[in-house]
C-alpha cells in the first residue's frame, strides 16, 4: 500500500501551513513556566533538608557505634567484705542436723576456762552482759580445726575479746532461743559451781548438748509455724542481683543516647 499523489498534494499543502495562535497565548505559557520555576525551588530545598537529616542520622549512628564499647568483662558480683567472720544464724531453712552442728561449733567459744590448774588453750568467752567477764583473761586460742571460727589475727587479747563479744551479741540478738538457752546454761553452771566447787568438762558438754537440743527444738517449732514466702525470697535475691546489673546496663545506654543526641545537635548547627 504505497503512497499516492493525492496524499502527496495534501502533505504539501498542510505541512507548511501555519495558524497564528491567539493574542495572549505567550503570556499564558509564560505564567505556567514561572509557576513551575517557583514550584521547583522548594522541592530542591526539601530534598536538601532530607539529605542533610539522613546524613546526620547516619553519622550519629557511626559515632554511637564507635563510642559504645560493650563491657566484655563478665559482670561478677564481688562480695563487699571478706568472709572470715563468725557465721550468723539467719537461715531458717537449714536442716536439723546442720543446725545442731553449727550450734555446737558456735558454742565452742563458750567453753569455760577452768579457774585453776588447767593449761588448755581454750577459754570461755562470757557474754558481754555478764558481770563476771574478766578483762585480762588469756587470749582464747581456738585450735579446733573443725570449727569455722579460726582467729588468726594478731590483735591484743582485749580487742579480740571485744570482737568476739560483738559477734556473740549479734548471734544472741538474732535468735532469742539461743539467748534464753544461754541464760539457762549460765544459771546451771553457776549452780554447779556453788554446789560442787568445780565443773568438769563432761558436765559442761552435757549442758551445751542439752541447750543445743532445746534450741533446735525451738527452731523446728518456729519453722513449722512460719510460712516461707518463696516469692519474697526470690524477689530479694533478684533485686540484689538486678540492681547492680541493671544499673550498669542503664548507665551504658544513657551515655550512648546522650552522645548520639549531642552529635545530632552539633551536626544540625
Amino acid at each position: 500500500m504505497g503512497r499516492n499523489r493525492i496524499e502527496d498534494q495534501f502533505k504539501e499543502k498542510l505541512i507548511h501551513r501555519e495558524i497564528a495562535p491567539s493574542a495572549g497565548s505567550w503570556e499564558k505559557l509564560s505564567g505556567q513556566l514561572n509557576s513551575e520555576k517557583k514550584k521547583g525551588k522548594p522541592i530542591i530545598w526539601w530534598i536538601g533538608i532530607a539529605a542533610t537529616l539522613i546524613g546526620a542520622i547516619f553519622i550519629s549512628g557511626l559515632i554511637y557505634n564507635n563510642n559504645y564499647q560493650p563491657d566484655n568483662a563478665p559482670i561478677v558480683e564481688t562480695p563487699t567484705k571478706e568472709i572470715k567472720e563468725l557465721p550468723t544464724i539467719t537461715e531458717p531453712a537449714e536442716s536439723k542436723k546442720g543446725v545442731s552442728e553449727r550450734i555446737a561449733n558456735e558454742n565452742k567459744i563458750f567453753k569455760e576456762k577452768p579457774s585453776s590448774g588447767r593449761n588448755k588453750s581454750t577459754t570461755i568467752l562470757k557474754p558481754k552482759t555478764d558481770a563476771g567477764l574478766v578483762e585480762n583473761a588469756p587470749f582464747p586460742i581456738i585450735s579446733d580445726k573443725t570449727s569455722n571460727m579460726q582467729i588468726t589475727s594478731t590483735v591484743t587479747p582485749v580487742q579480740k575479746e571485744e570482737t568476739i563479744e560483738q559477734e556473740v551479741s549479734k548471734i544472741m540478738g538474732n535468735d532469742p532461743a539461743i539467748a534464753s538457752e544461754m541464760n539457762i546454761i549460765m544459771a546451771e553452771i553457776a549452780q554447779l559451781e556453788r554446789n560442787n566447787g568445780k565443773i568438769e568438762d563432761a558436765e559442761i558438754n552435757a549442758l551445751l548438748s542439752k541447750a543445743a537440743t532445746q534450741i533446735s527444738k525451738h527452731r523446728q517449732e518456729r519453722l513449722a509455724s512460719e510460712k516461707i514466702d518463696a516469692e519474697a525470697l526470690l524477689w530479694d535475691v533478684e533485686m540484689d542481683m538486678e540492681d547492680s546489673f541493671r544499673e550498669k546496663i542503664f548507665e551504658v545506654m544513657k551515655e550512648g543516647y546522650l552522645k548520639a543526641r549531642t552529635a545530632v545537635v552539633n551536626r544540625n548547627n
Binding site: 505541512i15 495562535p21 513556566l33
Partner: protein, 187 residues
C-alpha cells in the same frame, strides 16, 4: 538603522532557553507556534482545544529542553511532542476508536485531484473522518510515519494501522467523487 539580533542562531537561542531565559523562549515560541498549532489542528477539530494542546506541548518543550540532543532538527523534535500531546488529548476525550476490519482488495489508490484544493478544504475533508481513521491517515500521509511507528505510538497492531488507512482513503475517495474534484475513471 541596523537591527542587531540578540541571538546569533537557533542553537544560541536554544542554549539560552535551556537556562530559562524567558526572552529566548519567547523567540522560539514565536518562531514555531504557527506551525505547531497547525499540527495540532490536523488531529483536533476544535481550534481552541488545539491551541491548548499546543501550549501544553510548548510547556513540555521548555521544561525538557535539556533533553534535546541536537541529533535531528529542533522543529522535528517539537513536532513529535505536539503529535504525542494531540493523541493523548484524543485518548482522554475517548474519541479514538480502532476497529479491526478486513482490507478489501482494490480501490486503495486515489487519483489525482483535478482541481486546486486548498489546505482549508483538505482539513475539512479530514475532519469528517472518524477519529481513528483521521489519526492514522494524518500520521501516515501527512507526517510520513511508517505503519510500525504508528502501531507503536497508538498501541495498536500493524494490521489495524493498515486497515484504518485503507478505510480513510476509501472514504476520502468517495467524498472527492461526490464533490467532483477527483477525476475518477477519466484517465
Amino acid at each position: 538603522m541596523k537591527v542587531i539580533p540578540l541571538f546569533k542562531n537557533e542553537s544560541h537561542l536554544i542554549s539560552r532557553a535551556v537556562k530559562n531565559n524567558r526572552e529566548a523562549q519567547r523567540h522560539l515560541y514565536e518562531k514555531y507556534s504557527g506551525k505547531m498549532l497547525s499540527v495540532c489542528r490536523m488531529y483536533i477539530k476544535d481550534l481552541h482545544h488545539a491551541e491548548e494542546v499546543m501550549l501544553t506541548g510548548f510547556f513540555k518543550v521548555f521544561t525538557h529542553l535539556q533533553d534535546f540532543k541536537s541529533e535531528g532538527s529542533f522543529e522535528g523534535w517539537i513536532r513529535r511532542i505536539m503529535i504525542r500531546e494531540s493523541i493523548s488529548f484524543l485518548r482522554v476525550q475517548k474519541d479514538m476508536e480502532f476497529r479491526e476490519e478486513p482490507i478489501e482488495d482494490g480501490g486503495d489508490c486515489l487519483n489525482n485531484v483535478q482541481e486546486e484544493i486548498d489546505a482549508e478544504h483538505i482539513q475539512q475533508l479530514i475532519d469528517e473522518f472518524p477519529e481513528g481513521y483521521k489519526v492514522v491517515f494524518v500520521m501516515y500521509a501527512i507526517e510520513g510515519y511508517k505503519h510500525q511507528e504508528i502501531a507503536t505510538m497508538l498501541n495498536i497492531n500493524i494490521g489495524t494501522s493498515k486497515s484504518q488507512l485503507f478505510k480513510a482513503r476509501k472514504m476520502l475517495q468517495e467524498k472527492l467523487e461526490l464533490q467532483n474534484i477527483a477525476g475518477y475513471g477519466t484517465k
